[in-house]
Amino acid sequence: MATDIVPSQPSLWPYILPTVLVLGACTLYPIASVLWMSLHDWTWGGASVFSGLKNYKLLWLKGSFAIALVNTVIFATCAVLVELVLGMILALAANRVSAGAGVFRVLMILPLMVSGIAVSLVWKVLLDPTFGVINAILGGAGLPEPNWLGSPSTAMASLVMVETWWQTGFVFIILAAALKSLPEEPFEAARLEGASGWQTFRYLTLPMLRPFIVTVVVFRLIDTLKVFDLVFGLTGGGPLRATEAVQTLTYQTAFKFSKFGEAAAIVVIFSALIFAICAAYGVLDRRAGGAE
């Protein structure tokens, strides 16, 4: 029998163990180190003094973390929603056209190649109420000229707008590729059955794209929750803390105030929240998938 002449598979562990150990150490050590740091008063160079849960308590008392967390969640939720809807519409459009589709794809991908700080600086100039091109065009057309980044009521929406311009291309690429990979037969059958465009999208395209959408949402959610460069470059967290994000608060706490214990406490809580969001999303998605 064939099984008699095929040698038994040797264990793979000796081969992957070094990699697992190195990766484990590179992951676990920083996590343990940050946890440990969050329980200490440490000003980067000074003595590290155990302080228990003081840093966590301070975060609660100062209120800065709560403001930054709410801002970050609002930013991430709005940005991912807008990017998903826009990316989906553009991917569906690109899937229907044949002429110029390549140029369209390149145009969509271009913003992704620009660094976050460069995006911030360019948009900061574009959105300037006095020197900016955008308000000049709006004013010329007799439209209102918003105070994009200078007003607490518009600054967050402006950030979401810039983020959308920058990153919708990512959603577009994934969904456009996914659409190309879908089988033709169900769509032909739907056409023969007389299904409308909306029905085809709702009952065929959307369910078939579900795994791709989940992937895109999780990736974009994690990415936008970590927003730093746009806030740093466009608003600095202002005005009036309207756009203060968790990452900019962490940076400021650690490198501007030298309060590394407090910064570590922010990192611990925020990482736990991101982990919880991802886990919850995964569970919900599995349940929804099972239900269907």
Binding site: T43, W44, G45, G46, L58, L61, K62, D128, P129, T130, F131, N147, W148, L149, G150, S151, A155, L234, T235, G236, G237, G238, P239, L240, R241, E244, T253, F255, K256, F257, S258, K259
Partner: protein
Amino acid sequence: MTSRLIAATLMLSAAAFTGPAFAFDWRQAEGAEITVLASEHPWTAGVREHLPEFEALTGIKVNVTAFAEDLYLDRANLAIRSEKPVADVFMSLMDAAIFEQWKVGGVAALTPFISDAALTGSDYDYADFSPALLQGASFPPGDAAAQQFALPISMEAYILFYNKDLVDKHLGGAVPATWDDLLAGAQKVTDEGGGDAFGSVMRGQRSGSLVDTMTGIVLNAWGEAPAPLPYNIWFDGAWDKPRFDDPRIATGLAHYAGLLKAGPENALSFGWEDASRYFAQGKAAFFADASVFGPGFEDAAKSPVAGKVGYAVLPPKDGVSVSGHWAWGLSMAQNSEKKNAAWLFMQWATSKDMDATFGLKTGGATRTSTWAKADYVAAFAPGYVEAVSKQLEHTRPTMVFREGWGEVVLVIVDAIHAIYGGEDPASAVATLQAVAPEVMK
């Protein structure tokens, strides 16, 4: 007051001019190679330009590594805390920042070098630096045996810049002499400017970079009453006696908020880059900020307002215009293994000749004797040196020596923003009085 200190240093430096100088061994560390960590600053540009002279004089190779300011400050903090030497000399902020670096033992004391005749030339004239500037890095603060941990390389006082064209057009050429007139005049320019010209521009972003300008304006409202370091105006002689709700502080913060309010509607997103750009583009009538911006505004190649800028002291209180001063310093990393070579560089870079040379680029020479030089004074726009010199007669340091002060600054900025948003100044500082001690814990 500062004027007396400056007068005393002037006398001391005059005496030093007449003293003999013996040949100093500049080549005692020949062959060494040192690294200078710097912020991209006009001073750094001056150093790069004249570095070959130092290298020829001493035989020491100098590598200048410079970064944009924000990035630089992080790099410098990292460098001095490193176990292995990263940089021998670094630019320091002569305020709470170097205080914190001193507290963690990252900075070398310079006093032993300054007082060693074998290491410091007799013509160095340490007394030529104003004690008011030196106290920004003299630790422990207020201690009779305090040692020096930085030497000032670029000084700034907080003065009032004005655009002559806009003041002529909207205010009949009269520069406001009181805060009420200044705020009303600034608002008038904004009202009449139609979105193309504004009464004032200020740093408005919720950022630590406001600290010195803001403190200068609050010091102006404080007047000549005592406010010794390390507490400055914010504490009544002890850390557990905050006085953020003092009416003079409320007035100063209200003045700052008033200038913000009379500016562009996006003023709360302005860093110093934005505010100075607006002024340099001729979009603002007034700009209260650091004197170091002056030479840049007069650079015709880059500034449309060159030749149109007027300079004045801040509006006086009780007949005296008090303001703040602050300085970049040059420090030696404690972990440097080439301290003698590092000190020779520092000594050269802060010498009388180099102070005058670099001062032409920064507009903020730090030696008293430089400000007395006719060619230094003649190099700047008419009125600039007069305004800065007059302001310096009544300036005080802007710093507070306290770990974590940077975080308190942000809640002070919150109070300014609250006043900007319409809150009564007394109410805003009452909140500040309650919040600041919590932040300091």
